[in-house]
């Protein structure tokens, strides 16, 4: 399954240049650096139809309507031009053929209407007002810190998350992203009072049920006042309990910006974080000794 000599010339890996790649007879989905040619497996072929449909989403959605409408008119015009009376009876084969074609045209029009109705609404991003911050609890070992930072990088890259706060066992382990500006010190982020947070009704409700809570449109919830450290125009918030002792607060910049798949992933990541942080908290006396 060697790709051939054309692909042995190194093509720099740069996603922006994909569009300007010259037309090779056998397309690959991503440009690759196959100098050594050690990878001998299959390479994916470009999927023209899928790419074209995804790029011209609006046009494709209304395409069946146009096709159906034009055919409808064509059938009627055909009838009138050939001098047959436009009467829908199934007696002559011409009429039967016309009826079948009309049926197909109507099916296409209806499909086009269904596609238009299920077009996902695009909601605009609201830039959160606040200051950037990155506060990590000082006594955390490197492995825990790298795990927390990994969670932040994944969430900010994949979802619409713009602020993340993790509170565990009475202290705030992580506050990262955009936070509200502090009222007392200019330019600094508002600090998180973990004990007060955990005692508030929002968090108590979440901890009691043990399940994730998704506030898709934060402006509708009065509990917003319990989260003063988040930017005031945060649009959506997910409260994920971490076992019995902690909570992760994930703020997003789009109303209903977290999809169900995001919620499922966040739940599972929350379980992993809980396992890691529990181990850290249980080993705390030993860890402090080791650091000395």
């Amino acid at each position: 399954m060697e790709a051939g000599s054309l692909l042995r010339t190194p093509i720099p890996w740069n996603p922006k240049r994909l569009a300007s790649l010259p037309a090779f007879p056998r397309f690959i989905r991503a440009s690759s650096n196959l100098q050594e040619g050690r990878y001998r497996g299959p390479k994916p072929k470009r999927d023209w139809v899928a790419d074209w449909v995804s790029n011209n989403d609006d046009t494709v959605r209304s395409l069946p309507i146009y096709v159906g409408g034009v055919s409808l008119l064509a059938v009627l015009v055909n009838r009138s031009v050939s001098g047959i009376a436009p009467v829908a009876d199934a007696s002559s084969s011409q009429s039967r053929a016309d009826l079948l074609t009309l049926g197909l045209a109507v099916t296409n029009i209806l499909t086009g209407l269904v596609w238009l109705s299920i077009r996902p609404k695009s909601i605009s991003v609201v830039n959160p007002q606040g200051v950037e911050c990155q506060r990590i609890y000082s006594q955390l070992p490197d492995s825990v810190v790298s795990e927390l930072l990994w969670v932040w990088e994944s969430l900010s890259a994949v979802t619409c998350c713009s602020s993340l706060v993790i509170a565990y066992d009475g202290s705030c382990f992580l506050q990262i992203g955009i936070a509200a500006e502090s009222s007392t010190e200019d330019g600094e982020a508002e600090a998180v009072d973990a004990t007060k947070l955990m005692q508030g009704s929002l968090c108590q409700g979440v901890m009691k049920s043990g399940a994730q809570s998704y506030l898709a449109n934060l402006s509708l919830y009065p509990g917003k006042s319990e989260l003063p450290f988040l930017p005031s125009n945060t649009q959506a918030v997910i409260l994920q309990p971490l076992g019995d002792k902690g909570i992760a607060i994930i703020g997003g910049d789009t109303i209903r910006g977290f999809t169900t798949s995001d919620q499922a992933w966040i739940t599972l990541i929350g379980e992993k974080l809980d396992a890691t942080l529990t181990k850290f908290v249980n080993n705390l006396p030993l860890a402090v000794q080791d650091k000395i």
């Binding site: 399954m1 890996w13 991503a30 440009s31 690759s32 650096n33 050690r38 001998r40 497996g41 299959p42 390479k43 994916p44 139809v49 899928a50 449909v53 995804s54 989403d57 959605r61 395409l63 069946p64 096709v67 055919s71 064509a74 031009v81 050939s82 047959i84 084969s93 011409q94 053929a97 016309d98 079948l100 074609t101 197909l104 099916t107 296409n108 209806l110 499909t111 269904v114 109705s117 299920i118 996902p120 609404k121 070992p141 492995s143 825990v144 795990e147 990994w150 994944s154 890259a157 994949v158 998704y214 898709a216 509708l220 169900t260 798949s261 919620q263 992933w265 599972l268 396992a275 181990k279």
Partner: protein, 291 residues
């Protein structure tokens, strides 16, 4: 909690059936209001945010998005039948109508295929578990417990949250395979690990630098490893961040391989999350530290 990650019996995630919430009615076409599947799970919604007009026949288990295809086949064959069985002489007007009708029928047949790629389309098929292959869970033993737990957790989460039936993670010397694989029968765990390593070496997967996604069946050498009935395949390399001072290129530390039994199994969002999980292993075996 850690025992959960080691449990090899995991059921694959099944996406909700498209027409699953239709009730039994007489087969008349009726318009129903349904909540979009994306927001159905959240019961804190205060507003109905994407009401969808769907035409359903009310027959449970029947998927209406393929209806244009069946209508296309049905009416197209009726048109042909009409042409031959009908009146002896065919006028040019009738020929024009029939040509138009056949074109429309061909378009209707293609319509569900195009609809699959639109935004907001949900996959119709459910993952089927392959028959004749056994679920396995093997992991290299020469790594620390923390790393073992990370690998177990990552494979668990990938199997559970995406339409995956087999997953293989290989980072430097550590290897973890979980799910349904076409391994030779009755080998011990150690031999199975060797078998996987040999397969990887043959295909040269450890030198991959780009994410490869095969939405439909991939041909080739990879098919021997994967269970029969694999349609989609995703290989995500784990790259070490390049050291700017040394001016070196990105080096591959390993890869994550996912296989599924339905085609077009991984949407853009799925692939983004898989990339995020793969990033967790960046630099994992570079330095060892105990928690």
């Amino acid at each position: 909690m850690s025992s959960l990650f080691y449990n090899p019996l995991i059921s694959a995630k099944t996406p909700p059936l498209f027409g699953a919430n239709t009730t039994r009615k007489s087969p008349t076409i009726s318009a129903r209001l349904n909540n979009s599947q994306r927001t159905a799970a959240s019961d804190q919604q205060q507003q109905l945010n994407l009401s969808v007009l769907r035409f359903t026949l009310g027959i449970r288990g029947l998927d209406e998005s393929y209806l244009p295809r069946w209508i296309g086949y049905g009416f197209g064959s009726l048109l042909v039948l009409n042409h031959f069985v009908g009146s002896i002489s065919t006028t040019p007007a009738q020929l024009r109508t029939e040509a138009l009708g056949l074109l429309l029928a061909a378009f209707s047949v293609a319509v569900p295929y195009l609809g699959k790629f639109l935004k907001g389309a949900t996959p119709v098929e459910q993952t089927t578990l392959p028959e004749g292959t056994v679920q396995i869970f093997v992991m290299s033993q020469n790594i620390s417990d923390a790393h073992k737990e990370d690998l177990a957790w990552a494979t668990y989460i990938l199997l559970r949250n995406t339409n995956t039936i087999s997953v293989l993670i290989s980072i430097r010397d550590a290897l973890c395979a979980r799910g349904y694989w076409n391994t030779p029968d009755n080998v011990s765990k150690v031999r199975m690990l060797d078998w996987f390593e040999k397969q990887i070496e043959q295909i040269g997967l450890s030198d991959l630098k780009d994410t490869l996604y095969f939405p439909q069946s991939a041909d080739s050498d990879l098919q021997e490893m994967l269970p029969r009935g694999t349609r989609s395949l995703l290989i995500q390399p784990v790259l070490r961040a390049p050291n700017p001072s040394a001016n070196e290129m990105e080096k591959t530390e390993g890869f994550v391989l996912l296989a599924s039994s339905i085609s077009y199994a991984y949407s853009n969002k799925d692939r983004a999350w898989i990339g995020a999980v793969a990033n967790k292993f960046k630099g994992m075996l570079g330095s060892s530290h105990a928690i």
